[in-house]
Amino acid sequence: MRIGKRIALLVMVLFVFSIAAAGCGGGTETDDPAGDVIKVGVNVELSGGTASYGTNARDGALLAIEQINKDGGVLGMQLKPIERDNKSIADEAMSISAALVGENIVAQIGPLTSGDVAGSTPVMMENKVPLIAPAATAANVTVDDKTGETRDYIFRVCFIDPFQGTLMAKFAAEDMNATKAVIYCDNSSDYGKGLAQYFEKTFTENGGTILAQEGFVKDDRDFRAALTKIKGLNPDFIYVPGYYQEVAPLIKQARELGITAPIGGCDGWDSPDMVSVAGNEALNNSFFTNHYSSQDKDPQVVEFVEAFKAKYNKEPDAFAALGYDSVQIMVQGLKDAGEADSVKLKEALEKITDFAGITGNMSIDEQHNPVKAGVILEFKDGQQVMKTRIQP
């Protein structure tokens, strides 16, 4: 019995050592001779709550790096991605950034969510290494809320939250000829409220009136009272900025009550659950803003979609496209800078104008946000169909 215990202990000790050794093994990959490669940090969510965002953006970024290397690299050097999983935790994103900076990366792609980018931001700022966020849409990612100053080393390739509201208002007023709209927004998130505010501003500027603003909160499932009221107001457009968990039952109930007016929304709608919960029929005549559409007929997008499908055997979503664009804009910056230096790269990125990305032409403004177009998607019998591309 006693011998048995000792053996068990020995096995355990060996096991622990083997894990430790395996853990260390990962660290030796950085011993490349410096000079002929440019290291790019990829700090993304590969596990945890937003793993699907991170995984797709990583796939897009790696596709871009592979294509660039095949075409001879940048400045005569090959790009070398160093990929790390931040587990969808802001603290983890920060310590990974610190480790990546230690490995002399020229820039970091990711993280995906605004919260994780905020975790990573102080390290990047302190070490003067640019961070390119593919999809962090909160306004304060690139601008300090308190001082109003732009965060020098933080860039992004996605449009920011308020812009989507503006976009949908333009679409409602110009393409749908709507004049009387009702806003029914997710009142428990800054996201929903911000979008509603900018929708109202642009819609009224275009000569429309907002008949009423109603609100729901996260986890609400019954919307019929407010919807009955909205039906009585007889609007010709209903704007519902929110996430799919609430929006899908909301639209279903609206159609059950006999509301036929077009319903507009935002990128929070982009989920397969929309169709499975609300149903094909209820979703007809509803539209939402998004970063890009894989159905875009633009030759550059078609080429990207084909290459992505060939490599990963799946349809590239908006995150994949944004990950791809993040790498491409960094490469453009490196070319403009003329050398692989983080500070010069930052200066070059600030001057980028009319960069042709998959998610639209973009120019970086003084707050490090891209000025770019967005797309409007329409649900047709359960399929997302690209309706139009709207310039800012």
């Binding site: 709550g49 029914y184 009142n187 109603e214 609100g215 729901f216 909160v217 986890d219 609400d220 499932r221 019954d222 019929r224 009272a225 407010a226 009955t228 009221k229 039906k231 009585g232 968990q245 899908a248 039952p249 279903k252 059950e256 009550l257 006999g258 659950d273 499975s276 919960v277 149903g279």
Partner: protein
């Protein structure tokens, strides 16, 4: 006028769901004076059982509902045996805290096993039909939920008032020690109470699934809380009170959203609750019993 009638229909169908959940709350409280905070989560388990019965076994909705009710009855008895019985003679606050613990355990254990994502309740399980009555939209699921709530309440009232088990329940509720002396098995009676209460929760869970066609591990929290409020509003421990409390809550929320502003829905609904309780602390149906010295 048409809009008003529509809002009444909306309010009644929302209220029926609250009432159904409140029935189970109030019953358990009535017998052992425990606010079973896990009630909403048992409801979630019921919804999950029916979801798997529908999708994996391909049963129809009535079999799924029966399966959910039976599974939850067993489950409720188990919870009572494991978590509440050992604490029956300790302070009420200890039992209350345990109930919160059970609630959290159910929520996060379900997330651990099935993941946090919502599951889509198969729409084919209960095909929705709309009856248009002169511009009024009444759905068959509204009628279904309303009728079930009323029928279940009547059955419950019958069990408690007219059967031997019900008599035992009332006796245990009145005085546990005296009930034991009269030859009533307190353990058995409380087990039956939990079985019936949990089966009711399961029925409510299945209806929520039909109603909003999604099921997720945290779906019990908000309806559970509102139903608790409904039970208190009607007078906790009183069966018809739970029913009326549920409908009052449903109608109140609907009217505030419909004629006031949806942003103030919960604030007004809970404000009215506070107001009623200030005037009549024992709830609408509660009897004011003076504290005996």
């Amino acid at each position: 006028m048409l809009e008003f009638t529509q809002q009444i229909v909306n309010g009644l169908s929302l209220g029926a769901i609250y009432a159904l959940i409140a029935l189970g709350y109030t019953m358990v409280y009535g017998i052992i004076k425990l606010i079973n905070f896990a009630h909403g989560d048992i409801m979630m388990v019921g919804a999950l059982v029916s979801y798997f019965s529908l999708t994996l076994l391909g049963t129809n909705i009535f079999v799924a509902m029966a399966a959910a009710m039976i599974a939850c009855a067993v489950f409720g008895v188990l919870i009572e045996k494991i978590a509440y019985r050992p604490l029956r003679n300790s302070t009420r606050i200890a039992a209350l805290i345990t109930a919160i613990g059970v609630s959290l355990f159910l929520e996060y254990f379900t997330i651990f096993i099935f993941g946090p994502a919502q599951k889509v309740f198969p729409a084919s399980a209960f095909p929705i039909k709309a009856y248009a009555l002169g511009g009024l939209s009444v759905l068959n699921k509204d009628v279904f939920v309303f009728v079930s709530a009323v029928v279940l309440m009547i059955i419950l009232q019958y069990i408690i008032k007219w059967t031997k088990t019900g008599k035992a329940m009332r006796a245990v509720s009145l005085d546990q020690e005296a009930a034991v002396l009269m030859g009533i098995s307190v353990d058995k009676t409380i087990s039956i109470t939990f079985a019936i209460g949990s089966a009711l929760a399961a029925a409510a869970g299945v209806m929520l699934g039909i109603y909003y066609n999604t099921v997720n591990p945290l779906m019990g929290i908000i309806p559970g809380l509102k139903a608790f409020v409904a039970a208190v509003l009607g007078g906790i421990g009183i069966i018809p009170g739970a029913m009326v409390g549920g409908f009052v809550m449903g109608l109140l929320e609907t009217m505030v959203s419909g004629y006031g502003n949806s942003l103030y829905r919960d604030a007004v609904a809970f404000g009215v609750l506070i107001f009623i309780l200030l005037i009549k602390p024992s709830g609408i149906f509660g009897e004011d019993t003076g504290e005996k010295v």
